[in-house]
């Protein structure tokens, strides 16, 4: 009986490490990156016809500090930032692609499997005009537009000195692919 009581007490003490309810998560699906110093991030949560399409922007000296400045990253926020579901990374022409890709691959949460897209007019402007970017990008992928993953893009950049990325522009569905652009 004493052992049982000790176990219950231990469990009660350990309840301090509380999990997050799913509706308290800001599940970022699309991350837009503009500028190389300061770096501006545009994060789009939810989407993909599933609602919860909240957005947030932040600016920082570099990619990581901008990431930490996202509205859900501070402790007062009701929602917790979750970057494990970032599937699409949209990079503006003025961004430092190599630094961004390195930061993405080094981050514990950001998956190296997220696909990389190019926005000539800037990621923030493109995302601002699109109601459901995740759904629009998923549609483009289903239509056969091939975008390299962050890992492949960085490998190509290092091996070949350039990487081919699909170029996005505002369109009827919020986004459309305008061809392939080369990043050197």
């Amino acid at each position: 009986m004493r052992r049982l009581a000790a176990m219950v007490m231990t469990l009660l003490l350990l309840t301090g490490c509380r999990g997050r309810e799913p509706d308290e998560l800001a599940l970022v699906r699309v991350l837009g990156v503009d500028g190389r110093g300061p770096v501006t991030l545009t994060a789009v949560c939810g989407g993909d016809d599933q609602g919860n399409g909240s957005r947030g922007t932040s600016t920082g000296a570099d990619f990581l500090s901008a990431l930490e400045a996202l509205p859900w990253a501070n402790e007062e926020s009701r929602e917790e930032l979750a970057l494990t579901s970032v599937s699409y990374l949209i990079v503006g022409r003025d961004a430092n692609l190599e630094a961004v890709l390195l930061a993405v691959l080094r981050d514990q949460e950001l998956a190296g499997l997220s696909t990389v897209w190019l926005a000539d007019q800037g990621a923030a402007a493109l995302l601002r005009n699109c109601e459901d970017p995740a759904a629009a990008l998923a549609l483009l992928a289903r239509q056969g537009v091939k975008a390299p993953t962050a890992a492949r893009a960085l490998a190509a950049l290092w091996d070949d000195g350039q990487v081919e990325l699909p170029v996005l522009d505002a369109g009827e569905n919020g986004m459309e692919c305008r061809g392939v652009g080369s990043w050197r």
Binding site: L11, L14, T15, C17, G19, R20, E21, P22, D23, L25, L27, R29, G46, G47, D48, Q50, G51, N52, A82, T84, S85, S87, E109
Partner: protein, 506 residues
């Protein structure tokens, strides 16, 4: 006041009175024991209508079959001329004991205990004036439920009979399948008041003699008032009482029981209980069905794997869901994650509360369905499962994902052939759900480790409970693990049974 009631000092046990009735073997003394017993009967008879030769006859109505008592005892007693030709009552007594009366079992008794218990067992007792010995003639009634289909262990290609409440019928059902004279049936009486006959069955030359001795010794130790329910045997014969997991395997199928005996197990049959127990019980025995031996080996092996997978699902799925949603959302595919988030946004309760309440609701529905008559029980299940379930989702009281997870876990639990084992899994499902919801995957792993630790500590009759997974490492023979091989290839009995004769076929 404790959880199980107020704890008080337990008085010391009353010693058993031996003999139970220290009385002279006279009609008056025996009749005195049955005072205020309306079913007790006593009458005086004349041998062949000779008033100088009187015999006192006693029996208990209902225990004795009238026709037998009349035809095989009364008629020869009053009409047999050979009895009247006897020179004295001593000679008549000898003649009756040696075939003058037509009972299959005639006993000469000289203690009150013997006479009393023979009467209770359905014998007619004959008292001779001035003689200290009594003749008891078996004329018991054989009223019992007829042998019927096994309701709880159906088998498409198997036999259609099942154990009944009569012990002797049950032993005959086994012996008809197992004709070897090496099949031993040893009887013990258990229960101070119920005096229930309990038979221990084993095959001499196959079963480990020490196992049979252990079973007999454990039965000998059971000192309770009455052995009338299965729990009275199951909870007293096993060494570990603080576990939800069953430590005995029972079957209502005589064929499965006989197969167990042939394997080298020791069986126990109890008068009044329509099932038989096989010892020792190990984890794998709760995942086998009688059909495993009638199906093709490939089908049986696949179904066996399915049952083990379902065991893991029923045990871990709700906890895994709670852990993944609350602590490790990255484990969940993005689209599913978004769907869960969207559904959860309108539900006012925490995920862990949802899971626990739904698990509890599932148990309540199951219990309600079991206790009610089958027709109403089905209605309750449908109403509860479909109508209330979907209404709860529509009313945003519960997430659809939680409902699906709990339903899958619940249904997976029903694949366990032993519902005793499934019951234990249900209790642990709650514990693991709480552990997963409170500590995430670490809690789930911790809970799983505690479960395995507890199971690994248990033994039944000297055999590890987790056999064949945690004992006889490297020695386990083919065909006795999760996967069954074709029967012609399973040439040996399970190692852990320590049988005297290892080979089971040529």
């Amino acid at each position: 006041m404790g959880f199980f009631g107020t704890k008080k000092d337990v008085p010391p046990p009353h010693p058993r009175r031996e003999p139970r009735f220290d009385l002279p073997v006279t009609p008056e003394a025996i009749a005195g024991v049955f005072d205020k017993c309306a079913d007790f009967n006593r009458r005086t008879l004349y041998l062949n209508n000779d008033p100088s030769r009187q015999v006192e006859m006693m029996y208990i109505a209902g225990q004795v079959r009238n026709e037998r008592a009349c035809d095989y005892v009364l008629r020869p007693l009053t009409q047999n001329e050979a009895l009247s030709a006897c020179p004295d009552m001593d000679a008549a007594f000898d003649l009756m004991a040696k075939g003058g009366l037509y009972s299959l079992s005639v006993q000469t008794r000289d203690t009150a205990d013997q006479v009393i218990f023979d009467l209770i067992d359905g014998s007619v007792a004959l008292f001779f004036p001035g003689k200290a010995k009594v003749l008891t003639l078996s004329a018991g009634t054989e009223e019992k439920r007829s042998v019927s289909d096994p309701e709880n262990e159906p088998d498409v290609k198997g036999a259609r009979d099942s154990f009944v409440e009569s012990l002797r019928t049950n032993t005959s059902l086994v012996r008809r399948r197992f004709r070897a004279p090496e099949l031993k049936v040893e009887e013990q009486i258990v229960g101070r008041q119920s005096l229930t006959p309990v038979d221990v069955l084993y095959v001499e030359g196959i079963a480990d003699p020490s196992l049979a001795e252990q079973v007999k010794a454990r039965l000998e130790k059971i000192d309770i008032d009455a052995l009338l329910m299965t729990g009275s045997l199951e909870q007293y014969i096993t060494e570990e009482s603080r576990t939800a997991f069953p430590l005995t395997v029972y079957t209502e199928r005589p064929d499965r029981f006989a197969v167990g005996l042939a394997e080298g197990r020791v069986g126990v049959l109890v008068d009044g209980i329509p099932m038989g127990w096989l010892f020792p019980a190990t984890l794998d025995s709760f995942f086998r069905t009688g059909q495993d031996r009638t199906d093709s080996w490939a089908v049986a092996a696949a179904l066996s794997v399915l049952r083990y997978v379902c065991m893991l699902i029923t045990l871990f799925l709700p906890g895994l869901y709670a852990a993944a949603v609350l602590f490790h959302p990255e484990l969940i595919p993005v689209k599913l994650s978004l769907s869960i988030i969207a559904a959860k946004a309108d539900v006012p309760f925490s995920t862990l509360t949802e899971v626990l309440v739904m698990l509890l609701a599932f148990e309540v529905l199951q219990e309600a369905g079991l206790r009610l008559p089958s027709s109403i029980g089905q209605t309750v299940s449908i109403l509860g499962g479909l109508v209330v379930g979907s209404a709860a989702v529509e009313a945003k009281l519960v997430s659809p994902a939680v409902l699906v997870v709990v339903a899958i876990a619940g249904i997976a639990g029903y694949t366990a052939p032993s519902q005793d084992f499934a019951g234990a899994l249900r209790i642990w499902r709650f514990i693991l759900s709480i552990a997963g919801g409170v500590l995430g995957l670490a809690g789930l792993a911790l809970g799983g480790a505690v479960l395995i630790y507890r199971l690994a500590r248990m033994e039944t009759f000297g055999v590890a409970y987790l056999t064949p997974f945690a004992s006889n490492a490297g020695k386990q023979r083919e065909g006795h693990t999760v996967l069954r091989e074709p029967l012609p290839k399973v040439k040996t009995r399970p190692d852990y049974l320590n049988t005297k004769n290892r080979r089971n076929q040529g």
